[in-house]
Symmetry: C2
Subunit: 239 residues, 2 copies
Amino acid sequence: MVRKLSVHAALSEEDCEAILSLPYGLRTFGPEEPIMREGDSADQCGVLISGFAYRQKITAAGARQIVALNIAGEPLGLQNIVLDVADHDVRTLTAAEVAFIRRADLLELANTRPAVGRAFLVKLLVEASIAREWLLNVGRRPARARLAHFLCEFAVRIEAVGLNDDDGYVLPMTQEQLGDALGLTSVHVNRTLGVLEAGGLIERHKREVRFPDWKRLRKVADFSDLYLHLNRQVAATAP
Amino acid sequence: MVRKLSVHAALSEEDCEAILSLPYGLRTFGPEEPIMREGDSADQCGVLISGFAYRQKITAAGARQIVALNIAGEPLGLQNIVLDVADHDVRTLTAAEVAFIRRADLLELANTRPAVGRAFLVKLLVEASIAREWLLNVGRRPARARLAHFLCEFAVRIEAVGLNDDDGYVLPMTQEQLGDALGLTSVHVNRTLGVLEAGGLIERHKREVRFPDWKRLRKVADFSDLYLHLNRQVAATAP
DNA sequence: CGTTATCTTGACCGTCGTCAAACAGGGTGG
DNA sequence: CCACCCTGTTTGACGACGGTCAAGATAACG
C-alpha cells in the first residue's frame, strides 16, 4: 500500500518494511479539509494513504493559487523535515487518509537506511521539477494548452500508480479548483474545456474525462513527461 | 567565499573546510552563456562563486519562462545529485564563475558530514518554496504587484548575502528577462516599471533601482519573506 | 422537494500582448 | 573622432485573451 512510495527509487523489501514499521498515527479526512496550515510549525510528516490532496497559497487580495497536487502514496509535509515553519497550506481534495510520522523517526530511518533517504530526496526533487513545469505552464501557455497540459500530467501521474480507469479518469476536483491550479477563472476553465471537447481532444461525462486522441492532445498541450522523471533512472548509488 | 552557502544552516568551520577541500574545477563564463542544458545527464554539481545565474524552460512555441534565479554562493545543479537527466536549462545572467564538483564527492561528503547534507537539503527546500511563491505570483497577481514582488524578493535575497548597495541595487537583467521571469512581455514590464516609478514606489537610473518607500512597496507587492526561510530556524538535529 | 454547490452561457470590459517605430547608449572600426 | 551598428529601452495604436458580473440550468443532498 504505502509501497507506491517506491515509484521513483528502488527500495528493498526490508526498506519498505522498515518504513511500515514506524510508529504512525492514521487520520481520516473529509473532502476540502485542512491538513496543515501556512505558519504551522509541524514536527510531523504525512503520507497520503488514500485520496487526493493539494497545496495552496493565498494572496492578500484573496486570490488562491494551487501550487501542487498530491496523489495517494505520496509524502505530504516532507518540507517539515528540516524547515520549521510551513510556507503553504495542505488540504484534502477528496476524502483521504493520512499517516502521520514523527520527524525524528523519519530522520533516524533516513540515517540508518540510505536508500530510504534517497527515495525521499528523489520525491522532493521531482516535486520541485513539477513546480517548475507548472511555472512554465501558468506563465507562458495559453489557456487551451495550459488546461490540456494539466490533464496530460494528471493522466500520466495516476497511471504511474495504477489509479486510472484505462483510457481516462474522473477528475477529483471542481472547475474552480482547476482554475486555481492553472491561474485561470472557473468560467474560463469551463469554456476552455468546451473548446477541447469541441475539438475532439477530450470527451467527458460529468467529471469523467477520456482521451480519444491522446497523441494530438499531447501535442496541443506541448506535453513531455521528462520532467516527471518516471523512468526510475536514479543516479548510481554512492561509492 | 563559498561560505555563503551556510546562510541557512549552521555549518561548523570544519564543515566549511571540508567543502572547500573537495576537488573542483573552476570555470569562468561570460554573460548569457549556458551552464547546463535540459536533457543533459550531468554527473557534476556546481556552486556559483560569483555572478548571477538563472534557470529556464522553453515552450514548443518558443516562449521562455525563467523559473529561478541564483545568486553567488548558491549551489547550481543540486538536482543532479540523484536525478539523472536535467529538466531545465541553467544559464548565466551576468559573467560568472562556477565551481564544479563531482557528484560522487558531494554524496560522500554528505554521508560523512550530516550537517553538510542538511545544508544542501535546506537549500533545496527553500528553492522549492520560492518556486511555489513564484507560481502564486505569476498565476494570481496583476502585473504591478507581480513586478513589485519580484523586486522585493531580489532585494531581500541579495541583502541576505550582503551584495546590495544599501537602499537599492542594480538589477542584473534586461527587461525582457524580467518579463520572462514574470510571465509578462518586455513591453509590459517597461510600462509597469513606469507605473511603479510614477507612484513613487521605486526610483531608477538605468538598471539601478532604489526604494524610497519600502514599506509601501512591500504592501503593494503583497510581500512577506516567510517563504524565504531566512531565519535560520532549521529543525533540531537528529537524535 | 427545497436548498445548495457546481456547471453553463451571455454580454461586456480591461489587462496585457502584438506590432512597429523611435530613441538612447556603448562598442567597434574606419 | 565620428559613423555605424547592435542591443536594450521607451512609446503609440490596436487587438485579443481572459476576467467580471450575472443569470439560468443541472445536479447533489438532506
